[in-house]
Symmetry: C2
Subunit: 219 residues, 2 copies
């Protein structure tokens, strides 16, 4: 008849996509086996056969969206253009970030899922810090920036600020915001003449990806 039954990989993909679309449409509250099964046009049992509980399913759905995927590093010829390109790409993907944040926060606070702030950060931040590091290294190679240490907090400043804006907007931000972040904040900071002229030793660009450790207390 009309029906062509999916199996294996194809079916699995359809379910995970349905799960993601469910998050988009109704957030974590609507992330139920029933709703996902209906959206994927299959039965609950088909899902349960693969992922025994909600946490496993959620992690699979998130994983499939490929947040760990390293965004390709732009190389436009200038630091400013590289920065704008990177932030614009991230901005394009912002809906996913907003959904993901909401989902993880809901799951975290509802206690249904064992999810640490560590994993939240990893999921949301990915390795954008690495991309920034690369871009800055290119700028040093071009001679736009002097060789020397750049504090980690400055390195991740552009993505931190963009993420902040996206969360507050619950959506993409206007392009002017991106330009503003780059021109008003980041470039003046990183090209600060005082930083360049200080009596630093001539070290290699040292951009350790070390993040801040988090406070233990939760009270």
């Amino acid at each position: 008849m009309t029906s062509t039954r999916r199996r294996g990989q194809a079916l699995e993909a359809a379910i995970l996509d349905a799960g993601w679309n469910q998050l988009i449409k109704g957030g974590y509250t609507s992330f139920t086996f029933e709703a996902i099964a209906e959206r994927a046009e299959t039965g609950k049992s088909v899902i349960y056969r693969r992922w025994p509980d909600k946490e496993k399913l959620l992690l699979a759905v998130i994983k499939r969206q490929g947040f760990g995927a390293p965004s390709d590093i732009p190389d436009m010829g200038s630091l400013r253009e590289d920065l704008l390109a990177l932030l614009r790409t991230a901005n394009q993907r912002s809906e996913r970030a907003a959904i993901l944040l909401s989902t993880i926060l809901s799951a975290y606070f509802s206690g249904e899922i064992s999810l640490t702030p560590e994993r939240l950060r990893t999921a949301l931040l990915g390795d954008q810090s690495r991309a920034l590091t690369e871009i800055l290294r290119h700028a040093v190679d071009r001679g736009e920036l002097p060789t020397g240490d750049i504090p980690p907090r400055i390195v991740r400043l552009p993505t931190d600020l963009l993420r902040q804006e996206i969360i507050m907007n619950l959506n993409r931000v206007p392009d002017e915001t991106i330009v503003d972040i780059v021109d008003t904040i980041f470039l003046p900071l990183v090209t600060d003449t005082r930083l360049q002229s200080t009596d630093r030793e001539e070290t290699q660009l040292n951009l350790s990806g070390s993040f801040h450790s988090r406070t233990a207390s939760k009270e």
Copy 2:
């Protein structure tokens, strides 16, 4: 007997506090009439008598926490100390901010509640921007900063960054982070000699609180 029945104001306050504690304990998922009634040691009907549905109750609970309360502006004698004091106070209150964000995001995405990103921003940001403006004005008065425009994005940079850190930590941040934000990012930016020496007109400090307008598209 042992039982002293609460009435009127006292009862109302107890219910709203129970609601807030419920958000702290289990997030928006656990924000149910039943759970709140039990926590407040009263009956569901008592709550329903006052707030006919969940949205009304939630708004009352949030309102009672007084997020709009203007934090008093520190005046410690130097720009740096003022900034640190302001951020430390905000950091102390971070648990409330994290809970509030999670709640609003959950409610927003679950569609149960009519809540715009505008209101999210208002609820979370309050008028911290005003406090920053005051602090900078004091610094100008002291002669620490030159008279002149400071771009709005720079003005709210400290609070934006702190908020970002709090959200990513889902908790308070270590004090070093606050010091880092002030010393590595904000002070270098705001005391940038190039900004001071440029051919700006001698204008009054103009810190319009104008926020970015948000993108309309939601697709």
